[in-house]
Symmetry: C2
Subunit: 144 residues, 2 copies
DNA sequence: GATAGCGTAACTATAATTGTTGCGGAAAGG
DNA sequence: CCTTTCCGCAACAATTATAGTTACGCTATC
């Protein structure tokens, strides 16, 4: 399975955008993410649908945060990118009527639901501003 | 991404094996999992390496649990199937030296580590015997 | 030695993100 | 208006992990 790196990438780039303040083009953002502009538009497009960023076309256009860094949580971004739970229990559906399969799935689902609650709670209290602060704290030279 | 259904499948089939008591062939197990014998051998082979099941070739051969259901936890099975953490934070590696990327990754890693601890704790205290009990409780007719 | 098992290799299928190219449209600026 | 600089989007290849399939060899029993 390929790990879904969109959340990490979006956090990364949103913090940069917030710190830079202005409007950024897909191309500049693509450089930050070491990828190409289309991928950026695709993913930022999802965040736009959730009101986290806004885009403008034409000359001087680009992407911008709609709120300040301290008003966007990791949870906001996660919710935008993923419909459904942040953690999905890997259940089986080989014999949906089999009580043993159902009991196994149920155990996994409950365990994952509990774990997800903790994950979500942590996401909910972490703002992009805090990430920015951590970054400044760590930093001592290289930026970008 | 295809969800990794091996843990759920193995729990399912191990409970069946425990309840049936005897040796089961890959083919019979494959029927339980609605798949084919090779997939079964492949995955049960991993569990064998961890001492959870044993296999015998030749006529009358097949697979059997090495311990009783109450002496195998979900964690045992999970650990056998997955090396490394049960929950991996989806980090990005676009600019490994960028403090912002590092800070974003760090937030995700810590949150996932905490969630994983809860997940593992739950896995550790859940035995296959409990799943079997749940299954009997739910059941009221259909088996398998 | 025929049969019923597992063991394994070598493919193909599947599914999701990611990467890439190409083209159309919109906004600014001369 | 017409060029430039953007985004929007469609279409397709690349990647990666599990899952499925076929085929063949080995072993133990009858």
């Amino acid at each position: 399975m390929t790990t879904d790196g969109r959340l990490a990438r979006m956090l990364h780039v949103l913090v940069h955008m917030g710190l830079l303040g202005g409007r950024e083009t897909s191309e500049r953002i693509a450089l930050m993410l070491n990828t190409n502009p289309v991928v950026v538009r695709r993913t930022l497009g999802v965040l736009r649908e959730h009101g986290i960023v806004e885009s403008e076309g034409g000359r001087g256009g680009g992407w911008k945060l709609t709120r300040s860094l301290d008003q966007v949580t990791v949870l906001d971004v996660q919710r935008a990118l993923t419909k459904g739970p942040a953690l999905t229990a890997p259940v089986s559906r080989d014999h949906p009527t089999c009580p043993v399969e159902r009991a196994s799935n149920s155990v996994l689902e409950k365990a994952h639901a509990a774990a997800e609650a903790h994950l979500i709670a942590k996401y909910a209290v972490t703002t992009l501003a805090q990430i920015a602060k951590d970054a400044k704290h760590k930093a001592s030279g290289t930026t970008q």
